[in-house]
């Protein structure tokens, strides 16, 4: 009995040993949560994988919460040349559609970096058909990422509320999950070309500025700037009152349906919406 048990242990250890020998150390490439960083990270990981194989590479977006025991972590800094190369080859050898999938996925709140890498892995083999190959699990996953980010962009087109300062400057505060303010601002730049406006991402502490009849741009905001800008939400404005009146009049009492309302206008998006803010 004991002998059999010893035999079993030895055999088992041998298996683990063989497995370890065969299983080379995994290289894990990490980078910051920005489009340029991610593209560079993909470039460097790919370069490594050409020698050691794609299965020995993994990509994680920082912060890395839990380090594993036997893998090696490499932090990647952005490099403009590499970004250009990656973007160019996606558009050239796969399709523009695939590039849009990658771009949207990169904006996502979740860590989509590894999915993007696997997506491109299939893509460079398959070419332009890639985005239609929905039987491939990673293509479906990318489609879901794109849908999620695209939906959030559309939500903020609907629910962003501007506060007018002296009827000259329009300021909006939003707290999106995905990094979407630039895409959202593009919509308003066409809509209000001849107005000054800004959209502030409260979570990421940066903003899109749009001067009247000018080009819009992104800018980081310091804490003191954030505090000053916070006050714009308390700015007295008669149209805020009028909108509140309209909003509370237009519903039909006999059809009241809070659940439907929540489905259509999720509660987490109501924080800066005038009609749902508490009255002072």
């Amino acid at each position: 009995m004991i002998l059999a048990f010893r035999e079993y242990i030895i055999q088992h250890l041998c298996c683990v040993w063989m497995f370890y020998e065969k299983w080379d150390m995994m290289k894990i490439f990490t980078c910051k949560n920005r489009f340029e960083d991610m593209m560079t990270c993909i470039y460097d990981a790919w370069e490594y994988a050409l020698v050691y194989g794609h299965e020995n590479v993994s990509l994680i977006r920082e912060p890395v919460v839990q380090l594993s025991f036997m893998d090696e972590y490499i932090h990647i800094e952005p490099d403009a040349d590499k970004v250009k190369k990656v973007v160019r080859s996606i558009i050239k050898s796969i399709s523009y559609e695939a590039y849009m999938d990658v771009y949207y996925a990169a904006l996502s709140a979740d860590d989509t970096l590894d999915d993007i890498y696997r997506f491109l892995n299939v893509g460079f083999r398959m070419g332009p058909a890639l985005t239609r190959m929905l039987t491939e699990p990673v293509v479906i996953r990318m489609m879901e990422h794109r849908r999620k980010v695209g939906n959030e962009i559309h939500y903020w087109r609907e629910f962003t509320r501007f506060n007018a300062i002296e009827n000259k400057v329009y300021v909006a505060h939003i707290e999106p999950k995905c990094d979407v303010i630039y895409m959202v601002a593009g919509h308003f730049a066409d809509r209000m070309t001849s107005e000054h406006f800004m959209i502030i991402d409260e979570n990421r502490k940066y903003a899109v500025m749009h001067p009247a009849d000018g080009e819009m741009y992104l800018t980081d905001l310091s804490d003191s700037e954030m505090n000053v800008l916070k006050k714009t939400e308390e700015y007295a404005d008669e149209y805020r009152v009028l909108w509140d009146v309209f909003f509370h009049t237009i519903g039909i009492r006999q059809r009241e349906n809070a659940k439907c309302q929540r489905n259509m206008f999720p509660v987490w998006m109501r924080k800066h919406a005038v009609e749902f803010m508490e009255k002072k």
Partner: protein, 494 residues
């Protein structure tokens, strides 16, 4: 007509006139893509944008107001009828423009929805409305979405002007047959509604051809190419030659009988944009609305009317509004009648089947079975009556057939068509593509086998589907809110 209180504030007027407009349902801003530009305000997106959702869960996309709720008509179902004692008010054109532009800049709304009670007479009212729209477009340079209701009985020139200024133009049919219209809306007649509808429809078609487009409105996902679709060229053509039976829309054959509106004088009217850019005539098409449950029509009549409206007038949308009792009248349902929300829901489902899935009204309902099954949706109901063609194989079936499977919509059908060219499908994959297997698995095979061992029996599948639908149906019919009783809030103990 007098206003008893002079000098209402804008806020009070907004309250009165939004309250009077809330029963109108067509609050959509879809159907037209237009870019913004320097010096003007606004653009339009074909997908439509909702900006908020009211307590009843309906979207708020446009500033939906009446110009005035003074009205000389006495339609029995309407809150603003002349015999009702309600507070009356009227906006000036400037007030409406200011409200629209300022709300728009704050991103509260997508544009203006302007309707009105009949002040003095239809022509005077319509003239006032056109004045407002012209001011908004030309003085305030507003380039966003405008939906205008036309007043039955207004002159052709005003109709033409309204169409040139607005994106969508609509005239409410309210009731699907001549008899019920006579009974409930004594001042309106079928002709005063159908004739302008036909004229607008002809003008839109003429204008589209002049702009180098197809005469018919765009329909999404290529459903014009589906064999059975009501928008199919052949089905449209066969209708034009046909004379319909009496009592319903279509028999007037208004489309060929009436000429299009004359747009030639419009340049002098100053309703084109500042530059030489010519604004198309109602680019987002026209729509209408019908009240459900005020008169005794069956679902079959309503759906047939809907189909005729789509085919003979090329309407972009037909809206349904569950009747909410606000007036007491012997000709109307009593005041404690609950609005028929589930019936309205079923009709909208059927409307989608007509517009996106290539179904026809006669396939869904018939003289023998004039109302929808309340327990399951119209598509499941249709599939259960045609079990002889199911299950179908998703790997090889045609797009038309895949679209007819309950639980598969235009998007997932398109994805199936794309995916199966590159690999074999699986149930897991179908689920990821957006197919609702809860309903679909009774009607499809994938790779030659069904998902479960299912007997193809009508009674069995019906039972299963009713189980799957019951929660949703209950939620639509029971919208009241329940909450936990609290000693502090409910009984005032503190």
């Amino acid at each position: 007509m007098f206003e008893l209180q002079k000098g209402l504030s804008v806020q009070e007027k907004l309250h009165i006139l939004a309250d009077a407009a809330k029963y109108d349902v067509a609050c959509t801003s879809s159907g037209v893509d237009r870019k913004g530009g320097k010096g003007m305000l606004g653009n339009a997106r074909a997908c439509g944008i909702c900006h908020s959702f009211a307590a009843d869960g309906r979207c708020i996309s446009l500033l939906k107001i009446l110009m005035t709720n003074h009205c000389v008509y006495d339609c029995k179902y309407c809150i603003n009828r002349v015999s009702n004692d309600v507070q009356r008010a009227a906006f000036t054109p400037e007030e409406i423009c200011e409200l629209t532009v300022e709300f728009y800049k704050r991103n509260y709304i997508e544009g203006l929805f302007l309707s009105s009670g009949v002040l003095r007479n239809p022509t005077y009212t319509m003239e006032k409305m056109c004045e407002t729209l012209a001011l908004l477009r030309n003085q305030y340079h507003f380039n966003g979405y405008i939906h205008v209701k036309t007043i039955p009985g207004a002159s052709d020139e005003l109709l033409a002007k309204a169409g040139c200024l607005a994106d969508r133009i609509s005239i409410n049919l309210e009731l699907p047959t001549e008899e019920s219209l006579k009974e409930l809306a004594p001042n309106k007649s079928f002709q005063t509604i159908i004739n302008p509808m036909a004229k607008v429809s002809n003008t839109i078609a003429e204008n589209r051809i002049a702009l180098g487009k197809n005469a018919h409105m765009e329909r999404s996902f290529g459903n014009r190419y589906l064999r059975g679709s009501i928008f199919n060229d052949e089905n449209m053509k066969s209708l034009e030659g046909k004379k319909e039976n009496t009592g319903m829309i279509g028999q007037t054959d208004a489309r060929s009988g009436l000429k299009a509106l004359d747009l030639t004088n419009d340049r002098e009217l100053g309703i084109y944009g500042a530059s030489d850019h010519i604004r198309p005539f109602a680019p987002a098409g026209q729509s209408t609305q019908m009240i459900i449950g005020a008169s005794g029509e069956s679902d079959y009549t309503l759906l047939q009317t809907t189909q005729r409206l789509y085919q003979s007038f090329d309407l972009k949308r037909v809206f349904y509004s569950a009747y909410i009792p606000i007036n007491e009248d012997s000709a109307l349902p009593s005041l404690d009648t609950a609005p028929p929300l589930l019936r309205e829901h079923r009709l909208y489902q059927a409307d989608w089947l007509l517009r996106f899935y290539g179904f026809q009204a006669d396939e869904l309902l018939s003289e023998e079975k004039p109302d929808f099954n309340v327990q399951i949706d119209p598509k499941c109901d249709w599939a259960l009556r045609h079990l002889d063609i199911f299950p179908i194989e998703v790997q090889t079936a045609s797009y038309d057939m895949i679209l007819r499977v309950p639980g598969i919509g235009p998007r997932s059908a398109k994805r199936i068509m794309q995916a199966r060219r590159y690999g074999s499908l699986s149930y897991e994959g179908l689920k990821k593509m957006g197919v609702v297997l809860k309903r679909a698995h009774y009607f499809i095979t994938c790779g030659g086998h069904m998902m479960f061992k299912t007997p193809i029996e009508e009674k069995y599948i019906m039972r299963q589907l009713i189980g799957a639908h019951s929660k949703e149906n209950w939620q639509i019919t029971h919208t009241e809110q329940y909450h936990q009783m609290s000693l502090f809030d409910d009984f005032g103990v503190s």
